[in-house]
């Protein structure tokens, strides 16, 4: 991939079709929050770690919903995985995001990783490596807003907002109020040039 395309982020091509609107996103996050409480039997030792950028916003929203449900404050932080990526050498060096671990540490806690899109699974593998250097959680679970398939590693999400079967010729784009000024999940076609990358 050339630097120009990378700088532009996920390049849009043609019209993007919304598959989730703002109210859908709010609804699936509420459902995921309930699922977390159910599986964790309360949420006493849950720590939410969002993967920058949009995973962090989703983690904060989930934390707010969990607080509503359980009446207790759920710690939320962010886990940057840039330095654990396995494709670092293939692209120009990237700016590093923020890692913030709430409270003292994650030892013995139930860590729920939160990200916007689950695709190849490589980001989550990197996140698991990063977690291993930070401490030893009791268990690690994964919550994603969209699972678009095409896994390259044996990784599966515990909580999925929407399963979105896609082809590799398609691109999925998540927009969130905090970063993009609106909430939406968009689906579009990539051009041949992008598909070849």
């Amino acid at each position: 991939m050339d630097a120009q395309a990378l700088n532009a982020g996920a390049v849009e091509s043609g019209p993007m079709r919304p598959v989730l609107e703002a109210q859908d996103i709010a609804r699936v996050l509420t459902r995921i929050a309930h699922e977390i409480v159910e599986r964790a039997k309360g949420a006493d030792d849950v720590v939410l770690l969002g993967i920058p950028t949009r995973g962090v916003f989703l983690a904060r929203r989930l934390a707010a919903k969990l607080a509503e449900i359980t009446g207790t404050k759920i710690p939320v932080g962010s886990l940057d995985i840039t330095m654990y990526r396995d494709d670092l050498r293939m692209k120009p060096a990237r700016a590093i995001g923020r890692t913030e671990i709430p409270g003292d540490d994650i030892d013995g806690r139930l860590v729920v990783l939160v990200d916007d899109v689950l695709f190849s699974g490589r980001t989550i593998r990197a996140a698991l490596d990063a977690l291993g250097d930070l401490g030893r959680p009791r268990a690690v679970q994964l919550a994603v807003l969209v699972d678009r398939g095409h896994r390259e590693l044996p990784i599966r999400a515990d909580y999925v907002g929407k399963n979105l079967p896609t082809s590799l010729r398609e691109i999925v784009k998540v927009q969130l109020q905090e970063e993009d000024g609106r909430d939406a999940v968009l689906l579009g076609q990539r051009t041949d040039a992008e598909a070849g990358q």
């Binding site: 630097a3 330095m83 050498r89 692209k91 700016a95 590093i96 995001g97 890692t99 190849s120 250097d133």
Partner: protein, 327 residues
């Protein structure tokens, strides 16, 4: 960012701020139980030291090891350089061994530039001090220390040193630290004043982006940071000033002088300090003196530089966002 780091003057404001922001994240790694990242695994970095320097070499070595790089330390003493091998031959040997980056300290000004631009070696070159010319990572760690102390740790992210007044005192003539700092601090928007005896001010200083003063007492009350330089006895063979005592009296920093600085102002020193000469023990041991912090920050800043130059297929460009297709 350029492919090599030869001079602090090569850095744009955005490059410098990106390095300082990255260093802030690297500093967090130092607070963790496992102070190691897999980022440069499988990369080989050679520390090529033609001139003695324990502090800088250890700092680079710590930074390289925390990023999981393989480290080769090369000291010229006792090597084939003392048998007459040239820089070119050494470079070609390293190239043949497949070194991914070279950190070079050399007594001759311009040696790192030559190494980077001669075509002898393809790897990125990082200048760890050359003659009286440049020491860019020292300037970066100084700027990092100032930003933390004067702007704030988290509040400082993304910010430069606009409007801060920095005073650099001592042997400007022989100091690569002063040259690098003037370049970088100017780029970051700070106002720099050099204070030194007239004999230790270099010819052509009027073209530098800074002020020059011969009176420390006049400059102190309006300084946000005062950086004391070491008076290098080994370079004092010519009569630059009458006696050490006189130098100390006019340009040394003692408690009385420190009291004239604003309350928030910090005292800096690149080390090693000559206590009783340019700085008194009382000042060196005070809370306002950042010498020990500067050493710790040196590792974080060097990690940041190594990551940004070597972490990808090419040096960092303006912060790219994580793209959807890499998930």
């Amino acid at each position: 960012m350029k492919r090599h780091l030869i001079s602090a003057a090569d850095l744009t404001r955005d490059d410098a701020v990106l390095i300082l922001d990255t260093a802030e994240e690297m500093a967090r790694v130092a607070d963790r139980p496992i102070k190691k990242l897999p980022t440069l695994r499988g990369r080989t970095i050679c520390n090529l030291f033609f001139e003695d320097s324990t502090r800088t070499r250890i700092s680079f070595e710590a930074a390289e090891k925390r990023l999981s790089a393989d480290v080769i330390n090369f000291a010229a003493k006792g090597s084939s350089v003392s048998k007459g091998e040239s820089l070119k031959d050494t470079a070609q040997t390293l190239e043949a061994m497949g070194v991914d980056a070279v950190v070079i300290r050399h007594g001759a000004s311009g040696a790192p530039y030559r190494l980077a631009n001669s075509g002898w070696i393809d790897a990125p070159v990082i200048n760890a001090g050359d003659g009286t010319h440049q020491h860019p990572t020292q300037a970066l760690l100084d700027a990092f220390t100032m930003r933390r102390r004067l702007v704030g740790r988290d509040a400082g992210l993304g910010k430069d040193l606009a409007g801060r007044r920095i005073t650099i005192v001592g042997d400007i003539l022989h100091s690569r630290v002063a040259r690098s700092n003037v370049d970088l601090l100017h780029t970051l928007g700070a106002e720099v004043t050099l204070v030194a005896p007239p004999t230790l001010v270099p010819v052509g200083v009027e073209t530098w982006p800074c002020e020059v003063s011969y009176s420390l007492d006049e400059v102190l009350p309006k300084s946000d940071a005062v950086m004391m330089l070491r008076v290098q006895r080994e370079r004092m063979n010519a009569a630059f000033f009458p006696t050490e005592r006189e130098y100390s009296r006019r340009y040394g920093l003692d408690a009385a002088r420190m009291a004239r600085m604003p309350e928030h102002a910090v005292v800096m020193h690149p080390g090693p300090m000559v206590r009783g000469m340019e700085i008194t023990a009382e000042v060196a041991d005070s809370d306002r003196c950042t010498v020990v912090e500067q050493v710790a920050n040196g590792v974080s800043v060097r990690m940041a530089v190594l990551y940004l130059l070597l972490g990808g297929s090419e040096p960092a460009v303006t912060a790219p966002s994580r793209t959807e297709e890499t998930k």
